[in-house]
């Protein structure tokens, strides 16, 4: 086995030092153009998401000022013109829709998500005080998921047909577990049964373990499916054979060579994972009585407090789009194999 065959990519993209130098400036420009195009596309998606959010607020049936007052009072009743005029004034409801729309977009750009119907406060204040808790949960869950996935795949992938089949069955089953059921099982076993972790999550470090695991286990199963395929493919690569010939042990090969190749699809899923854990937080926070934007969202949906609902939904969409954009940009910059347009 020749050393060149150990990685096709360097052979394909770098024919020699001279040719590489000639290509480099052109590639730099192509990267810049690709990046600008991707950022532009992401901005279009965000503008679209904001537009959907705006029209969702208009879609509430009935007169909006009356609806807002009813939501505040928690009951439907006839309103005097003075009451309505005050609400119309506060939310600018008498302006033409297009003006309201532009005001809304202008507000979003300057970080103003509107005012809650129910809480008389800016939506940013309502979200802001809860966001930290949910982000902590989300990031902890992603870290747990990576840990579980890496250990599980390294232990079971490419180890004979039986273990491999068992491993991938576990991947599929865990990936499909609904959060509400998994959360309750974990709560019953480790909270109520074994008393290892508190039942009510609160803000203590021990309290985050069960909620984070609830989000992490299905995520780990999902990532493991694609990582496992890549892992088993990498085990057959010539560079693995050459490492074996150099006398490297099985564990060394798996951890130092194969794993690095195999986790690439999971890195690609990072943006999606962030979106999935943020939306999964809605259910998990409800199970573990944990504060966060998920529980704010559920009560806002119940109360039809649309500025809060659209605020949270738009925020998650922004995070999702931004995370995907970052993953995309990082790939474009670091991976010379990607074709640039």
């Amino acid at each position: 086995m020749t050393p060149t065959s150990s990685s096709e990519l360097t052979a394909a993209t770098a024919p020699g030092p001279i040719a590489q130098n000639a290509i480099r400036p052109r590639r730099g420009r192509a990267v810049a153009i690709t990046l600008l195009r991707k950022i532009g596309a992401a901005l279009v998606v965000l503008w679209g998401a904001a537009t959907v959010a705006f029209f969702a607020q208009l879609a509430l049936p009935g007169d909006r000022a009356t609806t807002i007052l009813n939501i505040r009072a928690g009951q439907a009743q006839a309103r005097t013109p003075e009451e309505l005029a005050q609400i119309n004034q506060q939310y600018g409801l008498t302006k033409p829709v297009i003006v309201q729309y532009l005001d809304y977009l202008r507000g979003l750009v300057s970080g103003d998500f509107g005012t809650s119907y129910q809480q008389y406060r800016p939506v940013t204040a309502v979200i802001g005080e809860q966001l930290g808790s949910t982000l902590t949960l989300s990031l902890t869950a992603i870290a747990f998921a990576w840990l579980i996935m890496v250990v599980w795949v390294t232990l079971t992938a490419g180890r004979g047909p039986r273990l491999a089949a068992f491993g991938s069955t576990v991947d599929v089953v865990t990936a499909g577990l609904p959060a509400y059921w998994l959360g309750i099982i974990l709560l019953l076993v480790f909270g109520l049964g074994l008393h290892w972790f508190p039942i009510i999550s609160g803000s203590s470090p021990a309290g985050i373990v069960l909620p984070a695991l609830t989000l992490a286990i299905p995520l780990a199963g999902f990532m493991a499916q694609s990582v496992r395929t890549e892992f088993e493919r990498s085990l057959d690569q010539p560079f693995v054979l050459s490492a074996r010939m150099r006398g490297m042990g099985e564990w060394g090969i798996r951890l130092r060579h194969v794993l690095r190749h195999a986790v690439i699809p999971a890195v690609t899923l990072s943006g999606w994972a962030l979106g999935a854990t943020l939306s999964g937080a809605v259910i998990v926070e409800s199970i573990f009585s944990r504060p966060g934007i998920g529980s704010v969202l559920v009560s806002a949906v119940n109360a039809q407090d649309l500025p809060v609902v659209t605020g949270i939904v738009t925020l998650v969409a922004v995070v999702y789009v931004a995370a995907n954009l970052i993953v995309d940009v990082v790939y474009t910059v670091i991976d010379p194999r990607l074709e640039l347009t």
């Binding site: 279009v44 679209g48 537009t51 499909g176 609904p178 509400y180 943020l278 809605v282 559920v298 609902v309």
Partner: protein
């Protein structure tokens, strides 16, 4: 005689498979999934055939009993038999799941086809629109719709259907584009077939065949999403015994009656798993058929 030169002995060729290898070859997962699907179908059509109690029969003497022979899934706080409630709830859960899957795949079909084959400006606009909707996680899109329309069974169907549609729409668009750029379409174009004929005879059948598998998969997904909404108290409300609503109602007795939550949850997991198994099997069969 060298080992290489030995011809395979004719007697050894048709080895009769032993019972063990034959049993090992049966796709047990699939058999279980299909059997479970048949059971569910019976529960939907004639729940009284599978149960001895009534789902609303209250018996306070028997409140919060553990699973036993008389009550295989235990009883709830009003002494209603949980097994009966789960069986009768199958109709609600599966109707909502099927409805949502139909809305989802139907909408995805329209959006995906237009995005792939529509005239330029329409296709681009639809493509962007799908991309925008895809930026919202399914559950959040569903919650947004419920906030506007208020919680009910119908909202639940449309919320879940619309929430999950963007992902499928992207998939269908990819399938159609893949078929359009294939060799057989190029060949048909070279033969001078009309655009419409190529579309009808080549692109759509090939691109849409995987849809059967997608539909099976999306039924399982839809049931899970729909029950998530009921679990949050934003779907069908009790006394209906839709499975998510059963879970939500059982939550307050978690410390004393684990079965009220664990068993309905297990049923939902089993349904989702069965739908996935059947869907994947269909997918594998279709792919095999394409290759041969």
């Amino acid at each position: 005689m060298t080992a290489l030169g030995t011809p395979p002995s004719p007697a050894a060729a048709p080895v009769r498979p032993t019972l063990a290898t034959r049993l090992g070859r049966v796709p047990w997962g699939l058999v279980l999934a299909v059997a479970f699907a048949v059971l569910l179908l019976v529960a939907v059509i004639a729940p009284q055939a599978l149960t001895t109690h009534l789902p609303t029969a209250i018996d306070y003497q028997a409140a919060l009993q553990q699973p036993s022979l008389a009550h295989p899934f235990g009883t709830d706080e009003s002494g209603r038999d949980l097994y009966t409630r789960v069986i009768w709830g199958a109709r609600d859960s599966l109707t909502i799941g099927l409805g949502a899957a139909a809305v989802s795949v139907g909408l995805a079909l329209v959006l995906g086809t237009l995005a792939a084959l529509g005239v330029k400006p329409v296709a681009v606009v639809i493509d962007r629109f799908v991309e925008i909707l895809f930026a919202f996680p399914a559950l959040l899109l569903a919650l947004l719709l419920i906030a506007i329309a208020g919680p009910s069974a119908a909202t639940q169907v449309f919320a879940v259907g619309i929430g999950t549609a963007p992902g499928y729409a992207r998939m269908i668009r990819g399938q159609i584009l893949g078929a359009r750029n294939s060799g057989y379409v190029e060949a048909a174009t070279a033969l001078g077939h009309s655009r419409w004929r190529i579309l009808r005879a080549h692109i759509l059948p090939n691109a849409l065949r995987p849809l059967v598998a997608v539909f099976a998969l999306s039924i399982g997904q839809s049931i899970v999403w729909a029950s998530s909404l009921s679990f949050l108290g934003l779907g069908v409300a009790p006394p209906a015994s839709e499975w998510g609503a059963l879970l939500d109602a059982g939550r307050q007795y978690l410390t004393t009656a684990w079965w009220l939550v664990v068993i309905p949850g297990l049923v939902i997991v089993a349904v989702a798993l069965a739908a996935t198994t059947i869907g994947r099997h269909i997918q594998a069969r279709l792919e095999k058929g394409e290759r041969s």
